[in-house]
């Protein structure tokens, strides 16, 4: 019994080694590079960090990036949760249809989805055609290169990430709990807020974490829809590393993004745990 167990344990080694060599070491290197002062990476020092974090522009970019993540999480949760509720009440055929509709965008390339939103939000786009045709505005609205437009686009781009964990938890809920709640005279709202929501909270929190992490780092969507007027951390990383070739600064920006995302995800997780304690 001892020997096969040992052999089984060793099966994780190839992937572990690959991760050590090509994932952990590069990340450690990233930290090391950020601790250099000059672009040629010869002088060790923290002047780069001091300059980066002492710049008010940097802080504006950090706040904007976190704000973008928060807005996207709220907007996504607001439409995704009702979809999950409809899924819960639907028959098996509709459930399959909804699941299909959720997964199809997930599997279509992010670049394709971003392109779709240019067609929708552009000057001659779907929304502007409709607005002009209905006479709601005298001239085409500017939707591209605005934060609103970007949040709307990211809502679609990230929604499957929230829906999958949510649907997974929702479909495992015991339907008799909802029936019992209704049978005891609770309105649908009360059942939603006192039974369904608390029980599905783990799925919602997991989904929100994924959406936050993904929307704050969605470089192509941010850049193409937001333009270079809206600056977020990914754009800064890209500019510093591949345009200006200031690797220490790029590394500092990348680590800042890493920490911001980590803190944001931890905050969402903590919020989920607290609201769970209140709900029960």
């Amino acid at each position: 019994m001892r020997r096969p167990r040992l052999a089984e344990w060793q099966l994780a080694l190839p992937l572990a080694l690959a991760y050590a060599a090509f994932f952990l070491v590069p990340l450690v290197l990233l930290i090391a590079v950020s601790a250099f002062d000059d672009e040629k990476i010869t002088i060790v020092g923290f002047a780069q960090w001091r300059k980066f974090l002492g710049d008010p522009f940097t802080w504006k970019v950090i706040v904007d990036t976190v704000k973008l993540g928060c807005f996207t999480v709220v907007a996504t949760a607001l439409v995704a949760y009702p979809i999950a509720l409809v899924y819960l009440g639907a028959g098996p055929r509709w459930q399959r249809a909804i699941l299909f509709v959720v997964i199809l965008p997930l599997l279509t390339s992010v670049v394709v989805r971003t392109f779709a939103w240019i067609v929708i939000l552009g000057r001659e786009g779907v929304i502007n055609q409709a607005v002009l045709w209905l006479g709601l505005a005298p001239a085409p609205l500017r939707l591209l290169q605005t934060e609103h437009g970007l949040v709307i686009a990211l809502t679609q781009i990230e929604m499957p990430l929230l829906l999958l964990p949510l649907l997974s938890v929702m479909s495992r809920l015991d339907p008799s709990l909802r029936d019992a709640s209704a049978g005891l005279g609770a309105t649908r709202w009360r059942t939603l807020f006192r039974v369904t929501l608390p029980l599905s909270l783990p799925g919602l929190v997991a989904g929100c974490m994924l959406v936050f992490a993904s929307s704050t780092t969605a470089f192509i969507s941010q850049f193409v829809i937001g333009g270079n007027r809206l600056v977020y951390l990914p754009l800064l990383i890209w500019q510093q590393s591949l345009v200006v070739y200031n690797w220490p600064l790029a590394a500092a920006a990348a680590l800042t993004l890493l920490v911001s995302v980590g803190l944001g995800v931890a905050a969402i997780s903590a919020l989920g745990r607290r609201s769970r304690a209140y709900a029960v």
């Binding site: 992937l15 994932f23 939103w117 679609q156 992490a213």
Partner: protein, 292 residues
């Protein structure tokens, strides 16, 4: 007197009851309207872009306008023209090659790892599992930059092989997740029976474990393939002029003057995904696996 008592007792209750059911019904209606319209909006937001891209790709005009003023295949013709779209073809071929290799390697490595980690609780296996899953939540852009610095310091020039390595790391979690889910459904009694009947480890793996977890592996491999094909943040840093990748090229086509061929490429990609998705649904029940 008795009548008054009856009325006095029952009437308020009756009215109260009536008011209550009315309020109940109103709240029920409000619930249906609010949840229904938000869900409808959500589903519209999910589906409309895909449909709009497909329709736009058939536009006869030189700019992107919706609805298109007619139907034409001119952008598809231009896209499949071997001379005028040769750059796109090369990028697509590179992406396909990287995706196949990354999928194969990630599937092999992650399947072995999930067999090793299955039903194992303890600090070390948990830590290793967290490490393996971390690319899903960690900003991939930071990893892409880190990989670029790492390979540059080691003296490598950008090449397809480096992109493959980068992709293996970021797509392995997809295989690990679906395969681990299948492993947890494997009855350990089967393994013990097989061992007690004298079967070796490899034989048990081939004849007992593999048949049970094969659908999970297939679903994970499919997701890994798609994730590699779509990957931007790692390719962005590791792709060079001679190793152009399709998503990066498409980004370039959207950047300067909007190239309508992007719509045609999108149309082709959507069609491929649709077909693959239906096939995988038939073979391994993909949607159910993704949900669970």
């Amino acid at each position: 007197m008795s009548l008054r008592r009856v009325l006095g007792g029952a009437a308020p209750a009756l009215f109260a009851n009536d008011a209550k059911t009315w309020r109940c019904r109103a709240s029920d209606l409000a619930y249906r309207v609010v949840v229904g319209s938000l869900a409808g909006l959500g589903l519209l937001i999910l589906v409309a872009p895909v449909v709009i891209v497909l329709l736009t790709s058939f536009t006869p005009s030189r700019s992107i306008k919706f609805p298109p003023s007619g139907l034409s295949l001119q952008w598809y013709q231009l896209l499949f023209d071997p001379v005028r779209s040769s750059q796109i073809h090369r990028a697509a071929l590179n992406s396909l090659m990287v995706a196949v290799v990354a999928m194969a390697c990630a599937t092999a490595l992650a399947t072995l790892a999930s067999v090793a980690l299955a039903r194992r609780s303890g600090t070390w296996p948990r830590a290793v599992d967290t490490l393996f899953m971390s690319p899903l939540i960690l900003p991939m852009l930071a990893f892409g930059l880190a990989a670029l610095m790492y390979f540059t310091f080691l003296g490598f020039r950008p090449s397809l092989a480096l992109i493959m390595i980068g992709h293996i790391v970021v797509v392995a979690p997809f295989v690990l997740r679906t395969t681990s889910a299948s492993m947890s459904q494997l009855d350990p009694a089967l393994l013990e029976t097989s061992a007690s009947l004298g079967a070796g480890w490899l034989y048990t793996f081939r004849r007992v474990t593999l048949p049970v977890i094969a659908p999970g592996i297939a679903a994970g491999a499919f997701l890994a393939f798609i994730a590699s094909l779509d990957n931007v943040p790692v390719s962005l840093f590791l792709a060079g002029p001679r190793s152009d990748m399709l998503p990066i090229r498409m980004w370039g086509m959207m950047e300067s003057a909007l190239d309508v061929r992007v719509a045609a490429v999108s149309g082709v990609l959507i069609a491929i995904v649709l077909v693959l998705m239906l096939v995988m649904e038939r073979l391994v029940g993909l949607t159910r696996r993704l949900r669970d």
